[in-house]
Symmetry: C2
Subunit: 220 residues, 2 copies
């Protein structure tokens, strides 16, 4: 998949390309070292750009953070809305989860630093809470469809617990990684494995064998 932030689009003005480059580099630095440890001057240095030039595009680091969070919302929104057609197999649910994980992993600093970010930017907190609520609702809907299709055996209460637990695991994984011993696998594959494992007890037999196979692939 092409990375839109790194490939200068033919028709795009140079200033837009520069903004994209700043955002892509900032995202990589925030993911690696955290927002608090990455200064505007470090972002400029990493881009081989003067601080004045960076300042022309974004007056403060906070503006970069805000822009990245808004971009995450724009990109995660359609994913979290879920497929429009009714689910007929666990494979469709897995695709939804996989795409969700990819997006969370791409912007993992947001969830890892959610305590800091929601304290610093109250409006960001409200928007992230809306996104979480959307994810939980979509997961409930998809699981209910799978139950209707006979793939999942779970009551309404069980589905509510399961949906919350899946979203908790996906969004808090990179926070939890801070608490895991360094010898443990803390990558996104482990998170996907845990989330798929939550489904297993509720699956019909043939779907269960398939998901057990799928989840092991994440721990290769």
């Amino acid at each position: 998949m092409p990375k839109p932030d790194n490939s200068p689009l033919p028709g795009k003005p140079a200033s837009l390309r520069t903004r994209d480059r700043i955002l892509a580099t900032s995202l990589a630095l925030f993911n690696a070292d955290g927002v608090a440890k990455v200064s505007a001057s470090r972002i400029a240095a990493e881009l081989g750009m003067s601080q004045g030039n960076l300042h022309y595009h974004f007056r403060r680091k906070e503006e970069i953070v805000d822009r990245l969070v808004r971009r995450y919302e724009q990109e995660a929104g359609p994913v979290l809305a879920g497929p429009t057609s009714e689910l007929a197999s666990v494979d469709d649910l897995w695709l939804f989860l996989h795409l969700g994980f990819e997006k969370i992993f791409e912007y993992r600093f947001i969830y890892r630093e959610i305590d800091y970010l929601t304290t610093e930017f109250p409006s960001l907190g409200a928007r992230m809470r809306e996104l979480t609520a959307q994810g939980i609702e979509t997961l409930k809907r998809l699981c209910t469809q799978l139950a209707a299709a006979g793939c999942l055996r779970a009551s309404e209460e069980e589905i509510a617990v399961l949906a919350l637990q899946m979203i908790l695991t996906a969004t808090c994984w990179f926070t939890f990684a801070r608490l895991l011993p360094e010898t443990e696998d803390t990558g996104p594959g482990r998170a996907a494995y845990q989330v798929l494992s939550l489904l297993v007890p509720f699956l019909a037999d043939n779907e269960r064998t398939y998901v057990e196979y799928l989840r092991r692939k994440y721990r290769a």
Copy 2:
């Protein structure tokens, strides 16, 4: 239960009592507003104490944080070690989980701000990772005992996934609470309900009915 931090012990020198009062007040403020938002001068004001007096006991706010984390480790250690006798019923596991939750809730700022704290205090990170590893190992051991006693039907792999998932939920709950809509119940009872729910699919029938009853009590 008496609060050791607030009750001046008869034989304790006054300076120790003052240290305890500072720690108890700081803990309450950190839990409410977060470490970054609570200054040393606010702690002093809250205690009706001069800043000089506070400084005499703790030179920097960081020393208070460090002391609180060490106290958490001392108190959580024996809980996380688990019961020494073999488990024979789910009730014993529930007691272990309940005591663990109480401790995490008492010091919830540590887990909620784990990203910030492990970045600021690298040695704290290593110690917290050890504590997490201990919790996971104890839970695996207790679940294996319950499986041997016929209360739990789960393979070694299922127990490993379950133990990790329970610890993730308990430790990351107050981070996840930042992501939940404000209309949702984000209290510790909801976390206990989620953790007990993780057990349910693996329980033998009579134990299952009991745990379903138990977990509902947390959502009253």
